[in-house]
Symmetry: C4
Subunit: 215 residues, 4 copies
């Protein structure tokens, strides 16, 4: 199971998993733009129409930053691995399924932006997909820890694993809260998704350093 | 034909073939989401509409898992190769043609989900495309064996090749059976495609180990 | 200009040019499927409708094989290079522009399949785009030769370059002939594009060997 | 922070950032073609209709060359780096957001080509997106300089950085001017965007050498 030839093969598998995953993340994030419909109004009304559609652009922004944040988490996780096994490849596929479907609830949010009942369904759908993405990242990290897939150049495996878990646990809770809130107040749910994406995307220590500099 | 410079070039060709194939697989799998139409109903009916469209989501899931499973098989096959030749590149292109067209029958299945006559045509179309993908994987494996493209770090070439053949033969037979059944009972065919995708995607030995653990 | 650091940088540039080009080729080839419209007919008529639309599938097949063949030529050309320069990157961008636009005339051919006047325009548009792709491959090969970009592990640079030119010249002439013919007889032009794609995609020496074996 | 294991990890992160960015650039540039609508006219009028739509093709060309030019700048910048940090990854995501959204204003320009009021809004939208792309490239270059991310094989870091800044500053000013002009004369703005893209895409020293040769 762990002879050198198998190990080499599992490392090459890791490279192709990265290439394939990067592809799916990059395509899903770029396809989002197709969900913003080009308005069909008189030219004199185009500007007000675009300003009116700001919720569509907000949904685009939230979805873009979320896929970006999940990609960064995925990058960090896979990078810390020494090699991958067959189960990791399959679990990764389930994660990509929830990444690939995100343009759909984004389209729903854009379509039902003026309809609070529809928006409620769209926001909860969006939230459940985000929740499942985070759950799958968690499952991947746990599987990697159990099967000893983390590399030895990670100084302390246990430490690395708990770091991943520590980072994912708050987003899991936040997405659950935002989804439940979105069930009652769809717009508040959307704003919360935005805040989570910004929280995940902005490296806190950089902000702290910038604040210190300007002080 | 086999001087070092040619060999090096054929290994680089293998890398680009992987990159191009990964790209096509990743795009085809992510384009599937565009085949799920955003419903245009009153917001109060959106949830029931989405639940009603569960067959569309099922078709998406089946197509996603199938492309994923074929990608995993393709990965394993190409990884076992030492280098590729011009014919392998062309045969691979035919495989990618059947991968790239899959969103079309997936769209047909979504469009004709309420129309058993149309669903029949859609399911058979879908099945024939899956069958052709498996046939092409088979043809690629056979060509690689004949031309001695398998690497020497594969301990026993013959063994590796027969492993690939062993894995592909059951899916070939299963896809043929599911397609013929889909001709009579389209919905049963779709469920069979799902089962095959799950069978291909779930690594059996992991399941066995999990069962043993929980026992 | 040719100090080691610059050379290393130009080789890295070659790798990113390959990755970016492979991406554009893979996306263009996979987007083609979106040009085949899902028919909106009664389920009982779906099969006859699909058979009726065979020209659409033919256009898809021709476009797919053509992009595939150009990708193979592009692969072989870039692989033979040792490094690239700034001009090569820009010329490559023009080639990719003609690759990326191919889904458009493919969509035109599908849309105007029953209208001989429209088909004429579509086929000529398609032919001019193919012609420009081949011209740009030619220009890239010529630029690489002039600027000494070919690698030293290519045993004879001049030989390699003339091989590329030898392979491209017939397709240039064939595309020109097919485009002019398509102006008069659109369907004949389409069939010719198919034959050229098959000619480019099938490695002749393999066919010859297979014929010899079966004899 | 700078122990060898962290450095290795940050170099691998650079590779995945390149792969992901190349993916987004390649997809955005190839999706542009979907914004050109296939005309639905009588076949006899198709040619005149296509010639009539030349502004749509111009918008496609401008958008394609612009994304291509930004990709080339991005390539050169990232190539000069030794490693990347967490902030660079996030800032890069913001750049990709403005790359990924470009098909939308391109679609606006195509849709409102006959409506000077709408065209005005579309051209300014397009210009602001281009401006933001250049601003983000600037921010990335500045961040890389401040944090010492540039490689040591870049002979003079300070020189390299100022070269990047020198190249970006004119395009920043040009995009600002073109956007303001587009507010008054939309068509002039579009032509200016074209000229900037051509200026960025054509390597000036090659042109100079060609002129000298023909002289």
């Amino acid at each position: 199971m762990t002879d050198p030839s198998t190990k080499r093969s599992e490392r090459r598998a890791k490279n192709r998993l990265e290439a394939f995953s990067d592809g799916v993340f990059a395509i899903a994030i770029t396809l989002l733009v197709l969900e913003i419909a080009v308005p069909d109004v008189d030219g004199t009304k185009l500007l007000s129409e675009l300003l009116h559609e700001r919720q569509t652009f907000l949904a685009y922004f939230v979805a873009f930053m979320t896929i970006g944040a999940v990609w960064i988490e995925h990058s960090a996780l896979v990078d810390a691995l020494d090699h991958i096994d067959a189960t990791f490849m399959r679990l990764n596929l389930i994660l990509l399924l929830f990444v690939g479907i995100l343009p759909y609830p984004t389209g729903l949010m854009a379509e039902y932006r003026y309809d609070v009942q529809g928006e409620r369904v769209a926001v909860v759908f969006f939230g459940v997909v985000l929740l499942m993405q985070t759950v799958m990242l968690f499952v991947l990290a746990r599987h990697a820890e159990r099967e000893g897939l983390f590399g030895t150049d990670v100084v302390d495996e246990r430490l690395e694993e708990s770091r991943v878990r520590y980072q994912l646990a708050p987003s899991l809770i936040m997405y659950a809260v935002a989804t439940v809130l979105g069930l009652v107040l769809p717009y508040v749910g959307l704003i919360l998704f935005l805040l989570i994406a910004v929280y995940l995307a902005i490296p806190l220590h950089t902000v702290r350093r910038l604040l210190r500099r300007s002080a």
